[in-house]
């Protein structure tokens, strides 16, 4: 077990390193460089060349890579953003909490809708209403998220004027007393969370429905029913607890999907988080920021997969044997 765990950790570490190398290579494949992307009329060709020398961009690719990786791994130094003139670690430290606020809110809303809805679907299995909700889930899953965001902005911001269209704060945010400041942020959260958390909730509800139905077939549920417990108690106390574990693992640790969703949502709503930072860095060929963001997301995804794996082992004893997995 311990040996297996160590192997897994070592593999995860190698995977992160490989992912960083891949990101480095891909970022460098892109035409243009950060200096070429600077729009400064006073900067002539000689000045740009000087800047390239200063940033070390004129060095061989391998040397730049080793230098960056060495700094990142040995000193935790991710370098400086060539566009923002700030430390990459500062840029990331500012953006990550914002993305966490967005994704965590979306995750809460997602589960708060998906679980009760899934239970309801399981209890009303086969009814016209249940089929209609299932169809709605499929339709919502097929909507382009960025377009859904635009349409919500069109209706609730431009049309009704209820909610702000983009950003995380109003311009006068800093001047407000704190209750209004909180409310201001919450109002900015509503539309992005709806796109990120609500639109896909019906799809998850279909998984919850499936899991609940499977548990309802088991003997302990029959036993609970035989003891004359009300159906409400059987489902919420007995069945759901067992049904939910795989669902929460599935949703909670499906980090790539959640992070990817954040990239799309942040782009549409100009939410100043990781996704937006990464996309803007990509446009400006701001290599240190691209690599910092790629590295961070790779670490999160790989660690998430490792945790999911461990959770499955804790939940399902069958997965504990056979570390080689060639079966």
């Amino acid at each position: 077990m311990i040996r297996d765990l160590l192997t897994r950790l070592a593999t995860a570490l190698l995977l992160v390193l490989a992912a960083l190398s891949l990101a480095f290579l891909l970022a460098r494949l892109a035409p243009g460089d950060p200096v070429g992307m600077l729009r400064d009329p006073d900067l002539d060709a000689a000045g740009r060349e000087l800047l390239r020398q200063q940033y070390g961009l004129d060095r061989p690719l391998a040397e730049q890579y080793v230098r960056w990786l060495g700094g990142a791994v040995l000193h935790g130094d991710l370098g400086r953003s060539l566009r923002l003139h700030r430390e990459v670690s500062d840029v990331l430290a500012e953006a990550v909490p914002r993305t966490l606020l967005l994704t965590f809110s979306a995750y809460l809303v997602h589960l708060a809708v998906a679980v009760p809805l899934g239970v309801w679907m399981a209890r009303r299995r086969g009814s016209a209403a249940e089929r209609a909700v299932g169809a709605l889930g499929l339709a919502l899953n097929s909507l382009p998220a960025f377009w859904l965001g635009l349409m919500l902005v069109l209706i609730f911001s431009r049309g009704l004027g209820w909610l702000p269209a983009s950003g995380m704060h109003s311009p006068d945010h800093a001047l407000l007393p704190w209750p209004s400041r909180l409310l201001d942020t919450l109002r900015h959260l509503v539309l992005p969370v709806a796109v990120l958390g609500l639109a896909t909730a019906v799809g998850t509800a279909r998984y919850v429905r499936q899991a609940v139905l499977e548990v309802l077939d088991s003997e302990f549920v029959t036993a609970a029913r035989a003891r004359g417990l009300p159906e409400r108690v059987v489902i919420w106390r007995h069945a759901l607890r067992n049904a939910l574990l795989p669902v929460v693992t599935l949703v909670g640790l499906n980090l790539p999907a959640l992070l990817g969703g954040a990239v799309v949502t942040e782009t549409v709503f100009a939410w100043p988080g990781m996704g937006r930072v990464a996309v803007e860095a990509l446009w400006a060929r701001d290599y240190p920021v691209i690599l910092g963001a790629a590295g961070l997301s790779a670490v999160v995804v790989v660690v998430g997969n490792l945790l999911a794996d461990l959770c499955y082992r804790l939940v399902d004893p069958r997965a504990r044997t056979g570390g080689e997995g060639r079966t």
């Binding site: 490989a18 892109a30 035409p31 499929l138 097929s142 349409m151 431009r158 790539p256 990817g260 790629a294």
Partner: protein, 287 residues
């Protein structure tokens, strides 16, 4: 396949899906003769940003071009990129999966490590990195969809091949010392094919969504090529004064994706006996 076809027509979801796919296909094929005017022709100032009317059922855009005509033309790009992207992804995934499942153990390990590497990023991130690496075009988008969509198929095919390699008919074929490619192509592939077709059909919807997102970001179709995602991007600039510009292309994408997803679900009911009804395993991975 005849049996499957008939079963699809029996299933209400499958029927709806087929209609939703055939509709844009028909519109795309007929976009020449049917489109009201030339969708690429720039109109006069009086024709710009007209609300939907009898002359222009879906309105006109900022250059006075008919939105309905452009919608019919744009479907060509969305469908072609979605389908060819998924075809590429499934081809790569099948090859990798077969090689990993049937080949020597060392190859298996290397290929699965590669799969894990590609899965270590959120797909959107990988897509953006790749799409920024060359001049934007629709062919690039299709290639990117293929290059970032094969991992799930590879795992699926590998798992199936690992089971099949121990089956007596494969062991027998192996003992004849057939070349490896022949063993894979003639004896294993036919048994994996239904699974592969299923996986492909479940992924087209997601691929169409991904194409629209990339074109929306300006990484896909470039003027004068029309695509639904690019139309939404244009529409975003006029969200306040001309809602129809962004609304209708998105609706077209949604309906097409719904159609593909319905058809995929119906196909799964037929081909995958493990899945109970409409829910469960080898799902797609959308944008």
């Amino acid at each position: 396949m005849n049996v499957v076809g008939r079963a699809l027509l029996r299933d209400a979801g499958g029927r709806t899906g087929l209609v939703l796919i055939l509709l844009p296909l028909l519109a795309v094929v007929l976009s020449g003769p049917l489109a009201p005017g030339d969708p690429l022709r720039v109109g006069t100032a009086a024709e710009q940003l007209l609300a939907p009317s009898r002359a222009h059922p879906l309105g006109t855009d900022a250059l006075g071009r008919d939105v309905l005509g452009r919608l019919m033309l744009g479907g060509r790009a969305s469908l072609a990129v979605g389908w060819s992207g998924v075809l590429g992804a499934v081809l790569i995934g099948t090859l990798v999966g077969l090689a990993a499942g049937l080949g020597p153990r060392r190859l298996d390990r290397a290929l699965m490590a590669l799969t894990d590497l590609f899965l270590a990023f959120p797909r959107v991130f990988l897509v953006l990195l790749l799409a920024a690496a060359a001049a934007p075009s629709l062919a690039l988008v299709a290639a990117v969809i293929a290059a970032t969509g094969w991992m799930g198929v590879a795992r699926l095919v590998r798992a199936e091949a690992l089971v099949l390699r121990e089956r007596p008919f494969v062991v027998a074929a192996r003992s004849l010392e057939l070349p490896a490619w022949r063993l894979a192509a003639r004896h294993v592939l036919p048994h994996v094919l239904p699974l592969v077709i299923l996986a492909a059909s479940l992924r087209v919807g997601g691929a169409i969504l991904l194409e629209s997102f990339l074109s929306y970001l300006g990484l896909g179709a470039q003027d004068p090529t029309v695509s639904w995602g690019a139309m939404i991007e244009h529409g975003q600039r006029h969200l306040a004064d001309a809602w129809w510009l962004a609304a209708f292309p998105g609706l077209a994408i949604a309906l097409t994706a719904i159609g593909h997803n319905l058809l995929g679900d119906a196909l799964r009911d037929e081909l995958d006996p493990r899945a109970d009804g409409r829910y469960g395993s080898p799902g797609g991975d959308g944008a």
